[in-house]
Symmetry: C2
Subunit: 572 residues, 2 copies
Amino acid sequence: MGHRLGTPRMNSGRMWGLGFRNQRIHTHLMEMMLCLKQTIEKNLMYLTIRHPQQDLVLEEQRHSQGISKQEALLGNLMYQLVNLLQSGAMGGLELQWSWPSLDVRDDVGGGQWAQSSRQSDTLVHPLSDPVATFVSQHLSNRGTDISDLYHSIFQDYKIYQRDKYHEVKNTLGFINLGLSENKLCLDLMTERLSQSDMNYIEDDLLQYSDWRGQLFLREEVARFLTYYCKVPDRLDPENVVVLNGCSSVFSTLAMVLCDPGDAFLIPTPFYGGFAFSACLYSKVELILVHLDSEVTDANPCPFQLTVDKLEQALFEARLTGKKVKGLILTNPQNPLGDVYSQDSLQEYLEFAKRYNLHVIIDEIYMLSVFDESITFHSVLSMQSLPDPSRTHVIWGTSKDFGISGFRFGVLYTHNKEVASAVSSFGYLHSISGIAQHKLYRLLQDREWIDQVYLPAYRSRLQRAHEYMTKKLEALGIPFLNRGSGLYIWINLKTYLDPCTFEEELLLHRRFLDNKLMLSRGKIYMCKEPGWFRITFAEKPLRLQQAMHRFYQVLSEQKQDLIVKQLEDTQRE
Amino acid sequence: MGHRLGTPRMNSGRMWGLGFRNQRIHTHLMEMMLCLKQTIEKNLMYLTIRHPQQDLVLEEQRHSQGISKQEALLGNLMYQLVNLLQSGAMGGLELQWSWPSLDVRDDVGGGQWAQSSRQSDTLVHPLSDPVATFVSQHLSNRGTDISDLYHSIFQDYKIYQRDKYHEVKNTLGFINLGLSENKLCLDLMTERLSQSDMNYIEDDLLQYSDWRGQLFLREEVARFLTYYCKVPDRLDPENVVVLNGCSSVFSTLAMVLCDPGDAFLIPTPFYGGFAFSACLYSKVELILVHLDSEVTDANPCPFQLTVDKLEQALFEARLTGKKVKGLILTNPQNPLGDVYSQDSLQEYLEFAKRYNLHVIIDEIYMLSVFDESITFHSVLSMQSLPDPSRTHVIWGTSKDFGISGFRFGVLYTHNKEVASAVSSFGYLHSISGIAQHKLYRLLQDREWIDQVYLPAYRSRLQRAHEYMTKKLEALGIPFLNRGSGLYIWINLKTYLDPCTFEEELLLHRRFLDNKLMLSRGKIYMCKEPGWFRITFAEKPLRLQQAMHRFYQVLSEQKQDLIVKQLEDTQRE
């Protein structure tokens, strides 16, 4: 309703009809201005009376910052308006506008990826004084923002890259159980990739090719998905787009399905890469559908996604004027490890259809289900998909085959228009021809996959999972015991006092100080502090070493908590 | 002056100072509205009296389209304004704005990449009736625009991909002398890439790596460029960023150096990929610096780039309020084949320094200089680069090594801040680890490059160039006889009557009808119709076949021209 409330007088589509145009302009503009004036006055008043109980200096500062921002924004809109009309008259519309910069530096408080109040140069420069702290001498505003964001997100990862654990060469290096990387079958993969059929070279692999991906690879992907996703009808290679990684597929889908500021629903906790990808290019907002760990009548399982929650989030978003274009699902789920039942899946898809939402479903862990009692259902396997033209599947080899370094992501969509639009981005997201050929050979070798690779992979996953769950049980750490994925979602809130995201971060840093990387729940936008994702798809000896460090950190942490609690008691 | 003229009343940075705020709002808004009203009226009048002599129905259509556009734009600005102020009052600025869609469908007329008047869904939908032809059921507005643009640009390329010439299998297929692809040394390259050192696999190549590119590759690139660019001091691997193609490097540079709507100067004719890349993500405007073919006192060589021309374009752009952030150069030039002299290069760089402009210099053809009398000077070779922190070099192996299918592009910049910001985009533009290793081995093998590859490559280039220039001379076709690159810039204007871009397009289609692809000058934003770029780096037999088709098309075209001229004479 938010949008509608704001626009009752804005029916400008008919504002200047073919007759009486000039006469009506003045009246309409005056009406608009009256509406504007009232809004501005209300707004200024609101700024003035906001939080009067708080620190007055700080409040005054915020207040005048708020006003400056609005001045700049309003002034710029006016400026653009005049400019636009003038250039319209000159035959070329030269609207210069930029998306507001993104700022996640305050991610501890919010939960949503906040949009920064700082405006781009084009906005601020002509109208207000530049704010020194924000200005880079060489980078644009968006360049600075993205760079800051990247370096804050990947800070630990970069340290890890420079100081990786090695059994012989670097026993004091970082062990990374924070990244979801499958290191269980590198031996098998190396052996297979070293076979002679892999090293084929032909002219076409060395030259420019179809930006959607080479036809031979798309054909093989279609066959592969038809088989492993148990698709009733053969998939069409023309609906396959192959890009350099699943994040590229997601990012380009967001580009072609949304305009800047449009939104996707996404249940939390979720894979943080979606948020980073959305910031880099598409500027799509993610509307969080918060799931709870606590089991109640309405929430029969921890972090259970229900249509009620989706509907509520959608309605709330629409009330605040958001334009929700789709729903993002990951199945098997990351970081929870849940596999959606066929019924649940059907319900989510029908919900999406009811509200004309696209569904982007990331099935990147589809072959990483190691518990035999669990059946994975791909949306592609459904006999009648509720809304085929709005259902888009992402898959890749990074997880199931443990070759994230290949940078290979697949889009399958029944919607040829979407496939075609995404392929436009192949120009900037394509894969080496020689890598495409290797992937083609790999996916084609069904005998090796079924007889050698998958049995070994799943049994190793199972064993590593068992090893880790036993360790967690021994330590009395609650966790979600699931049968898919490369990681376990564990609850360390008893190690936090108070149980806040700040303490979660401190514990995370303590792991880092002990050369162990985990992923903290905040990264997944989990609404409850204390959750961590720990990857178990690591070689046995390394896993053992990691769990040793894990145990040590938690012991230290517990010691400190006891001391702290004693001190608190004494103080009382 | 355009912008300044539009803004004398827009000094809103101080508009609502701390005192007398509410009282002043009304007055200022009324002032602005008066200004707006005058502009709108002037504009409507202009639309009404425009080209009254032309077809009235068409004019009426244009007229009402123009009005609808402006209605939607103005209405939307108002709507955004109210929405913005309201959300500002709610504590979070939720500006929903999208960059105006790009439209190059009318590229025949303009020269500059025009911005479409059609607005994004968020803009148009709530305020005006949807225009059926513009609306896609599933794609966003930007998705539709980019898809349309891509398919219009790559239409011929896609036909070629499906029907390529082959000496045995498809003698009636397309021969592509339109693409700048080096097919002269595929034999040598295949041989080298088939050697055993290339097929090395280790765990690190299969896993996530540094998003800037693997360190071993960046180190090798730094050594390689130090050697081949004759760099006085060793280049630093920390200043190297490796992405999947030079277009990705350019696109990400544009992202981090510019905000949307900022501009780069670029001399025409230029490689069209810059324009397409700029449209996909960065929304950077290209300001064309038109060069002339005619030799005069002020223009000593055809298409001579001078500082005067750069300065004039910069001043004109600034007068119209453009925020020019940099200059794009390609050296050796594409499509002209020119190699900039050291003095010229120095002048361009000093010009850029004088105006605080970044220089993006694409040296992708640096090893493709086949005339021994010509020396290529990389900007990296300069003893004292005028503005090192604003000079950014692009290179890759697509042209010099004829392996465009590898998707490999390099950024070298002395500016660590820029390198670091660009590397943020490695997340969506990285290369397969195994391809990185092959590239590393290739660049490392200096003996093979110097003793085997480069001598063979350059001599083959030389021979192919000689073959083609002789054919052109025999046909009496003027062309630029240069000693670098894979192509020749030829002038077919005597085959056009009248000499227009429409006729250029028709001739281009006639080549296509005869299964020959060339690139027409319009794609390079050449201001004079009639120029084409023809690639000669093709295998001898194929080149021969292509030139046979070329001759046939021009003979037919000449026949038609004679018939047409006869008819014209008879009519007179």
